[in-house]
Symmetry: C2
Subunit: 350 residues, 2 copies
């Protein structure tokens, strides 16, 4: 704690405007604007006078004034579902690098993976708080599409699977990673090394991207000739906690699975912990696969899938920037494929 009775902001309550600077420098506001933005001709002497006045008044331009006139914020928003999932770090990095090079600043927004949060992000674009939006969405609802249609600035949708909108004439570019193929491949891989009892950690129910993953699980089972068993499917949440309780549940079943496919790495990690805490071994007692290729999976030796998130971010940003600079190309749907990284957790044939 500190004292001294110093009051908050007592001397900075009203920020100087360009008018104040003009008055102090004895010139017009137009000239101040020219001088400060180094646009057009301003006599060196006048410029110095203006700079000194600005300095003295602690002048900082108010962005809202400029935005209103120029109709540009020079801000780009990246909206992610989940700040506690490392998978988005790579995206952030990719986006950041691209837009910074073009003089834009990055604003992150956090949707919590809920439609409402995603709509909030879109609204910020509608209200022109930012010039463009890259939205990592978990929903595929019509209302989202409708709201994006009302934006005057461009949006790029980043999808962890996106079959539903491809080619649907949506008013935005998309960049997706085919998560369906990831889960399908995982189950196929487990079947190939001999597993017939394959449990599934499904994530949060009613979240569209998890619905798609679940479909992949079922399809892969079917194609491998393995009957579907509802009791092997655990819905909870896509978090580590969700995975933990799922792992616990599945591992304690009388007729327990010999392998578990998790619909993302967070769950795989939680599951790994649960099995360990119950005295089981991965692999040995149970095989395990995840999806996202998180760092920790490399350390623990859990089979997973590289999601090329950095590339996804980069490409999304590139598309956005190109729209922002006026491109009128027809909208693009870009796809990536997850790449399996086989590790100890699923290395041995049953």
């Amino acid at each position: 704690m500190q004292d001294g009775g110093k009051k908050a902001k007592e001397m900075t309550n009203r920020q100087a405007s360009i008018t104040d600077v003009a008055r102090l420098a004895g010139v017009s506001v137009g000239t101040v604007s020219h001088a400060l933005n180094s646009v057009g001709y301003v006599k060196q002497e006048t410029k110095e006078k203006i700079l000194k006045a600005a300095e003295e008044l602690n002048y900082v331009p108010n962005r809202a004034g400029r935005i209103l006139k120029t109709r540009q914020t020079r801000l780009v928003m990246l909206a992610i579902p989940d700040t506690s999932n490392e998978i988005y770090f790579g995206m952030i990095e990719g986006v950041q690098k691209e837009i910074k090079a073009l003089g834009y600043s990055l604003l992150l927004y956090y949707t919590n993976g809920e439609l409402e949060g995603e709509l909030d992000a879109v609204r910020l674009l509608q209200e022109r708080v930012v010039d463009g939006l890259i939205l990592v969405h978990f929903s595929y609802k019509q209302v989202l599409l409708d709201e994006i249609r009302r934006c005057s600035g461009p949006a790029v949708l980043l999808g962890m699977c996106n079959h539903l909108w491809a080619g649907a004439g949506h008013p935005f570019d998309t960049v997706s990673i085919d998560v369906y193929s990831g889960i399908y491949t995982a189950v196929q891989h487990l079947a190939k090394i001999g597993h017939r009892k394959i449990g599934y950690l499904a994530g949060r129910r009613n979240v569209d991207v998890y619905g798609q993953r679940f479909a992949a699980y079922r399809d892969a089972l079917k194609d491998a000739g393995i009957p579907y068993r509802e009791e092997y499917v655990y819905w909870n949440d896509w978090t580590q906690m969700g995975g933990y309780s799922g792992g616990r549940t599945l591992y304690q079943m009388k007729d327990r699975p010999t392998a578990i496919c998790a619909s993302n790495d967070l769950q795989a990690i939680g599951c790994w912990e649960a099995v360990r805490d119950l005295g089981g071994k991965v692999p040995g007692d149970i095989a395990l696969t995840g999806l996202d290729n998180l760092n920790i999976c490399k350390i623990l030796g859990i089979t997973s899938f590289d999601m090329k998130e950095n590339l996804m971010g980069t490409e999304a940003a590139r598309h956005l920037m190109s729209r922002l600079s006026g491109s009128q190309m027809s909208y693009q749907d870009l796809y990536f494929r997850p790449e399996i990284q086989v590790r100890d957790s699923s290395l041995y044939t049953l």
Copy 2:
């Protein structure tokens, strides 16, 4: 790829303004404003006419116009150094919860742990892109203080150690966790269980918060009567990669340390991996401590320190909100203490 020749945004090029709505509804802009914001009296019939017009024109208010007039953005920025460090997730969560309850939206900004990035964040506050700023800073430079002084909106500084500014009459609230005490305690703990050769993973050189941690390491050695050995100190980066190469280097020394204190968990984890990859055991061949209490440390059994990051975020947001609602209290410096979590990696007496 999709075709169909649909051109980008052909029908939404110019967004409707409040004037357009007023014209279509046959009323004045003032009345439109009243109706849309439900302020003052508007006849039900008129209101409906306006709503219909707004609907028809796909009207969305332009935030810049409103901001200019109201001098409020209703946006709060949280600037973090590093998006790949889980430690900030808890902060985000804490901040988000507090401000959302008061009708503010959260914008994240990413400083990369560099002074330049921190200054960028401060500038966005100066330009009034946001109403308030919570800055997790890694620098203690005078220029940062000067720039914050030029802001008309409030800032709260979140410090991973902050002795330098405490009581210095700075124009902002601070919330800090005493990292010095964390590192000091870690070294003390290692000494107590018998270690005399304690290596140190120091983080990025010339980053102020890491300088303080290093001082704690030296002080603790001294107080334990252990001579300082420069070759046991590894400067690199605060990342997992940095820890990995540090762990490699220290573990391969002829007269290697029997314990390693890492200045954060990311490095501890990297070190853990390096030792494992070299065939060593933690503990057994080497003891290890980290700082931040990341999830993965719990899984790997690495001794670490709870940094109360959620609480830090909550408190920072509370202070900011209180300034935003006009509080003129003198500035506060709030301190937390890291709490050691002893785990396997440093459990056994040498």
